[in-house]
Each structure stands twice: as structure tokens, then as C-alpha cells.
């Protein structure tokens, strides 16, 4: 043990053999119990044995017991070091419970033919769902739409940056504007859908529609032609989430030392040059983080689409998530819907990893 570690020891560990044995028994015994219970339940479910189980809760209880014993066992066996592990282990077990297990179950379902109305129940069907996906024009249409939705992040970023610069300047009512610009982010997307998409843009009495009529658009309809509908959807989504990027960029701007900009001005840099040569490069790390997080939000876009257009007209506003929602919910096609979600997850992970790598490489090469 190094001296640095010793500095944090507040009590000397005196772990006897009995305590150590008990700890090891807990650590190894509890998973054995978990394994036996899970095995018994599996045999009952699929091999015709009858152990009297009525549901899968015993396995859940055994897992909770295992988690508790594992934590307790760490302290018994490792003493103070074990207590330190307890700062992380419960969280790790929690994450495993809520992500890894469902992901594994999801994979099983994804490779199944499971229509909830089928009396045959779930049937393993290999890669048939992948083949179906490959030939499914609705899925490819939704993926193509996602490309356009993602590209819309770039103008959103420009607007967010401009707003952040404005709020960072010494203007009157600065606090008011900061709160006002943040308001859309506080609204539920479903509320935005109804307030804006279905009320303000309503063709007969909506104020935005009436404004358009005054401006010469004879029959203003924001969702009836594919590109107008897609653009309107992008605008509503942008209106909701630009404040998110704006607030991140604003925080970054406020962290830039004033001296740097003052030095640039002293050196004779114009406003634009000062921004382009000093502010923008310094803001790149924050900008990349803001854009990446915004990208994650964007890839999950569904609620306003489902509420306002259900993906129409003719799939023009459909997103992958809203399509999966229909496939899964309206058609009870659980196996195929899960496969679509899994493939989308893989696409997102790969795309995000590549983007982050590229951003990292760019940052390292530039600075």
C-alpha cells in the first residue's frame, strides 16, 4: 500500500479468518443461490418442471440478495478498501440491472418472430427481421429523414451561438432575456406540439396561419406538403432545443478570460476578426460537446412528430423512433420493432463514436 493510500485510512483493518470466510461465503454463496433460482425458474418456464413458481420475482429477489451480499462481502473481506468499493459497486450493479440485462433480453426478442396476436407466441427466426428491415421502405425513408433532421443542427448551432453572444454582451434586460430564451426548453414537446403545431399553425384560426394569409400565402398549411412539413417540424424542434445549446455556449463564453479579447482589440482586431480568431476557437470544445449532446436529442426525435403528423404526409416527417413506435405499438410487432430499435442503437453508437474520435483528432491537431 502506498503512502498516498495510507493517508485515507481512518481505522486499522483487523480482518480475522472467520470474518474473511463469512465474506467469501457471502460473495460466492449468493450468486450460487441466484443461479439456482434462475435455473429452476428457467426449467419451469421452458422444460416442463414444476417448482411452484407463479412469476419471475424469486429471481429478482435472488438478484437483490446477491447484490446486497456482494457489497457486504467486500467490506468483510477487504475492510476499509471494501468500504471504498461501496462508493461505486451499488451504482455499477444498478447500471447493469437497468441496461445490460434489458439489452440482453432485447437482443433475444430482436431475433424473434413475435406478433402479440399470434397464438404461437415468440419464435426464434434468426436474421429474418434484418432481411425484412433491409427491404422495408418505411425504415429507409425514416433513416433518410433523420439525415435531414440531423443536418438541421448546423443552422441551430449558428442561431444558438448568435443568441449566446447577444446574451453575453452588456445589453438591457439581460436577465429577462436569458430566462425568456430558456422558456421553450422547459416546455414538454407534446405541449409544443399542441400549442404551436396544432393551434397556432391551425389553418382556419391559428395566429401564425392568419399572419401568413396577411403576408400573401393564400391557403397556409404547414404540414400538407412534404418539404414544408419537414421544415416546420425542424423549426418546432429547433425552437425547443436551441436554448439548450445556447445556454451551454453562453456558459463557455462567460468562462473565456476577458483579457484575451481585450488584448485582441489592443492589437487592432476588428469585432469579426476577434470573434473568428479568438472567441470561436476557444469555444470549440464547448461547441462540440453542445452539438454532440444535441445530436443525441435529435436522434430521439419522435414526440412532436407523433402528435402533429403521425409521420405524414406520406412519411415525409417520419423519424426512426416514430416509425418504431407505430410498428411496435399499433401493430404489436414486437420482434421486428425491437430489431429496428437495436439496429438504430448500433448506428447511433457507431456514428457517435466516429464523431467523437474525429472531434478529438481535430482538436488535438488544431491546438
Amino acid at each position: 500500500m502506498s503512502e498516498g493510500d495510507l493517508l485515507h485510512v481512518v481505522a486499522s483493518d483487523n480482518i480475522g479468518p472467520t470474518r474473511r470466510t463469512l465474506g467469501l461465503a457471502l460473495i460466492w454463496g449468493s450468486p450460487t443461490v441466484l443461479g439456482l433460482v434462475a435455473l429452476a425458474q428457467t426449467l419451469q418456464a421452458w422444460a416442463g418442471f414444476d417448482f411452484g413458481f407463479t412469476n419471475w420475482r424469486p429471481t429478482l429477489y435472488a438478484y437483490v440478495l446477491y447484490a446486497g451480499c456482494l457489497c457486504w462481502g467486500q467490506v468483510l473481506v477487504k475492510g476499509e478498501q471494501g468500504k471504498r468499493i461501496l462508493f461505486v459497486l451499488p451504482a455499477a450493479l444498478f447500471v447493469v440491472s437497468l441496461t445490460v440485462f434489458p439489452l440482453l433480453f432485447g437482443l433475444v426478442i430482436a431475433f424473434s418472430d413475435w406478433n402479440l396476436s399470434s397464438l404461437d407466441g415468440r419464435q426464434f427466426n434468426g436474421v429474418a427481421n434484418l432481411v425484412q428491415m433491409w427491404h422495408d421502405p418505411f425504415y429507409w425513408n425514416a433513416l433518410t429523414n433523420m439525415v435531414w433532421y440531423v443536418l438541421a443542427i448546423l443552422p441551430e448551432y449558428v442561431v444558438a451561438f448568435a443568441l449566446a453572444l447577444m446574451l453575453n454582451a452588456d445589453i438591457r434586460g439581460q436577465k429577462f432575456f436569458r430566462v425568456a430564451f430558456l422558456m421553450p426548453l422547459m416546455l414538454s414537446p407534446v405541449a409544443v406540439s399542441w400549442m404551436i403545431g396544432k393551434s397556432m399553425m391551425e389553418t382556419r384560426f391559428g395566429p401564425l396561419a392568419n399572419l401568413m394569409k396577411h403576408l400573401g400565402w393564400e391557403e397556409p398549411s404547414f404540414f400538407s406538403s412534404p418539404w414544408i412539413a419537414k421544415s416546420t417540424m425542424m423549426l418546432m424542434d429547433a425552437w425547443t432545443f436551441i436554448p439548450f445549446m445556447m445556454i451551454m455556449i453562453l456558459a463557455g463564453l462567460q468562462a473565456i478570460p476577458k483579457e484575451l479579447q481585450e488584448a485582441a482589440r489592443v492589437d487592432g482586431a476588428s469585432g469579426w476578426r476577434s470573434f473568428w480568431e479568438v472567441t470561436f476557437p476557444l469555444m470549440l470544445p464547448v461547441s462540440i460537446t453542445a452539438v454532440l449532446i444535441r445530436l443525441i436529442f435529435k436522434l430521439k426525435l419522435a414526440d412532436i412528430v407523433i402528435t402533429v403528423t403521425s409521420g405524414g404526409p406520406g412519411g415525409a416527417t417520419d423519424t426512426v423512433t416514430s416509425f418504431i413506435f407505430r410498428e411496435y405499438r399499433d401493430r404489436s410487432n414486437v420482434g421486428y420493432g425491437t430489431m429496428l430499435a437495436m439496429v438504430y442503437l448500433v448506428i447511433i453508437i457507431v456514428a457517435m463514436t466516429l464523431l467523437m474520435k474525429a472531434a478529438d483528432r481535430y482538436m488535438k491537431s488544431s491546438y
Binding site: 406478433n115 399470434s118 382556419r204 404540414f223 412534404p226 402533429v308 403528423t309 403521425s310 399499433d330 410487432n333
Partner: protein
Amino acid sequence: MKVELYNQVVNSGMTRRGVLKGAASVGALSMMGSLISAKAAMAQDDLRQQILAIPGVGNGSPTDADWQKVGELCLGGTKSNVAEGEFAGVELTFFGINNNGLHNILFRGFLASWEKYTGAKINWIDLAQADYNPRLQQSIATGTVDFDILAMGAPLEGDTAGQGLLDEMPDWVKTQIEMDDYVSYLQAPVGTWAGKTYRITIDGDCHTFAYRKDYFGEGSISGLTEAPTTWQGVNAYSAAVKGQKDPLTGQDAIGYLDPLKGWGGFGFYFLEDRATAYVKYPGNPAWLFEPETMKPMVNNPGWVQAIQDVMDNIPNMPADQINADPGTTAFQQFLAGTGSGVCWWGDVGSNAKTSDTSVVGDVVGFSINPGSDKVYNPTAAAWETPATPNFAPNMAFLGWGVYVTNRVSADEKKRKAAWSVAAHLGGKDISLWMAAYPSGFQPYRNSHFNYEEWAAAGYDRAFVEDYLGSNADSYNHPNAAIEPRIPGIFQYYSVAEDELAKGYAGTYASAQETADAIAAAWEKITDQIGRDGQIALYKASLGM
């Protein structure tokens, strides 16, 4: 013995035991017979008049207080079969929808007095219309049915009764709710499965054609003296009124309103409204699938004509109609004064007069769904032109019913409580109120077509005859299109909605291409659910 008659005797001072024991009592009862019958009938008439006066037509939308009052007044049937406090400690879970603040919300009010009287407690699972079917399917497929009573449409009997999830109705319930009063199309086999009865009907579904009378007549903007009776006429008048002003609202005049946006599968019924006139050939019960093969008929020339009709009508409708679902066309458009024709369930009729948001109560007319000058004969694979138009009213969804699940089958007390809840909601008198006021349900009993009762409640006699007449004519139509009760029926409808949306948006080159895409998708669903099983259930539901 009729429930009301028994109550009359009890109210006159006799007890159950007193009524049933001894020759003297029987003799006294027989002597009292005619008097009692008359009194009982009068009492029931009084009750029906009393509940129809709550809150009274023209006094705004009923509130929860009104629902509670009606529920309490209609508790007679329950009291005749259940002792006070008999279900103390029983908890039941009721699964249903909460559309427009009705259905389950309404049932809560109706059942408040029932809970107080019996001592049972009801927990509620409220779902939006579009969430209903997936939640039900998930519960069934995953073995997690967590409700004892469910409000459900007959089309889903294949998914529930077909899988043995329901509890058979006890005989006392049949007596309490007076099942023989149902209109004929709701009698067995609807509500039954393998000869057993599972359903208490609380609704009789059919679509009827609601139209604005002020668009027709001498000097009207349509130029027609009468509302059209065929789909050819509907499209013609919709084109004729375009560019004119609505005589009631002064806004742009609009003709027939087709909902173009999906509604969790329910939107497909509105294409059926048009299509049945073309494809429901008299004497042939099949109009969705070919019974021997489950091959979809949805891409035959009749269906294609219906899709083409909708496409032709799109330019005549509001600019954003592509995003109007059926709820929008009925409640946000037609009842609010936009558009002059819509096909919907009967609650458009009751809402027209009693809902606060309706502006068309004085100018609305009803008829059975429009017919067609030509009909497609699937056997001959040829169009025919009958002497009179072919009418085929769409019995869309076959009405809501209340069912009890087999979760309660092993517990007799709980089972009786669950059926008592269902029987209270499906009672003869309470059903009259539900038919007359906004409830989400439409008439379904022969006794609902007593126009005098409606007139006494404050309805305009001519309106009621028109509105109820369109329902009665649809129910009794010899060529009515009856929906098949096969598993996954809403999957077929849902995927059809997606393909139709593409067709309406111009993604497909033609109506035929749109119909072919639907047919291909339906074939996949049939294969996935199991073709042989579907064929058997389809034929059974058609009575073949």
C-alpha cells in the same frame, strides 16, 4: 320475474320470502298482477323520464354530478341481486379508455353509488384510444392481465375470448340487463365465443352519414335540393361548394370531410365507409378477405374506387386535411362548423345537440352511409349496376361491451362483484341515458328507439327521428357490412393507414398501387399470425 316487478312488490311492503312462500301470497300476487304490471311499467317510465331530465337537453354538457345522480337512480337492478355491503373488501380493476373525458370517466360517476352500496372498490386503468389496443395485446401476450373488467370492442373478442381469457356470463346477469332487448345484429354470435356468452353490450356501433341541412335545399350553395345518397353524389357536391361561403359560419364552405391521418388503426373504418358501398355485394358476407384463403380483397376494383374517391376529394377539403384524424373531422371540424358532411359513430348525433362545443345542432341531418350507383361483384370479378344504389352500412367496431376476465373466476365473491359492475353499466335504463347524452356510446337496444322518450327529454322530435332513424336503418339493413372478429384486426388497419397516408400524399403513383401495397402488407400479417387459424376464425365470424 322482472326486476322492476319484484322491486314494485318489495316497495309495496312485501319481502322476498313473503313473495315466494305460500299459496296465499302467490294468490295475492296473481290478483295483483295487472295492477303491479301497470305500476311497474309506470315506475320504470318515471325513472326513464327522470334520468333523461338530467341535466336536460339544452342545459349544457352533463357533469360528474349528473353521472352520479343517474348511476344512483339506476341502482335498482343491482339492489335486486346484491345485498348492501355484500362486496365489502373486494377490489376490482377496470380497464378502458378515457376519450373526450368520457367512457371510464363517465363510468366512475355511474359507479360511485354502486361502490357505496356494495362496499367494493374499483381501481381504474384509463387509456387513450390509440394506446388501448397495444396495452391490451401486451397484457395478453406477456401473461400480465392485470384487470378484472374491461371495456372492449367486439372485434377484439378473437384476441381475448379466443384465448380463453374471459369469464362466462352468469344467467342472473342476463336477466338483470334484459339481453333480449338488444337490436338483432348485436345478438349472438356477437358477444359469444364457442357458444358461451361473454359480453354485456353497452354500445351499438355503426357509422352513419351526418350532413349539414343548410347546404341543401332550394337556393342552397350546393345547388341540390336534398343531401346526396351516393358517394358519387357526395364527391360531386363537395366539388360544387368549393369556393363558396358556409351559410352558418361565413367561413369557406367545405363538402365531405375524409380523415386522412391515421388513428391507431381506427382511421381505416372511414375508408370502409366509402368502400362497403362498392364492395359489399348483397348476399356475400365477405368484403375484407376471401374466406377460403384470407387473400385480401382490399386491392379489388371496388376498394380501389373508394381510395380514388378519397384522393379526388382531397382538393375540396381544408388545406391541412392530410393531418386530420377521425376525431378531428368529427369534433374539431364538423361539430365546430367546418365541413358539411362526415361519417361517424352515433355520438356525433347526441353531441350535436348536447355538447357545448357543437354549433350545428339546429342544422344537422342524418342518414345511413351513402351508397353507390355501381357495385363490384367479387365472384364474377365484374362491376354491376343495380337498379337502385347499393347500400352497405358499416357496422364499424360492433360497439363497446363490458367483459369480465378469468382472473376472478376462482373467487365467487369477486366474480359476482365484477359481473355486478358490468350489469350496472349495461342496464336497460342507464343505457337510455348513455344513448341520449354524450357518453361515447350510441343506441343499441330496441327500447332506445322510442322517440317519445327522447322528445320528452327535450330533443326535437324531428331531429331524433332523423338521428335515431339513421341508426335503426343501419342496424337493420339487410346488406350491413359486419366486421370480422379475428385476432390482430387492428394490425391490418394500422398498416393500411400507413400505406394510405403514402397514397394520399402522392408517394404511390395511383390508388391501385396504394391498394396493392396494403394487400401485400396484409398478407405478411396473416402469415405472421397464422393463416390457417385466421381462416377458421374469419369464416366463423362470418357464420360460414
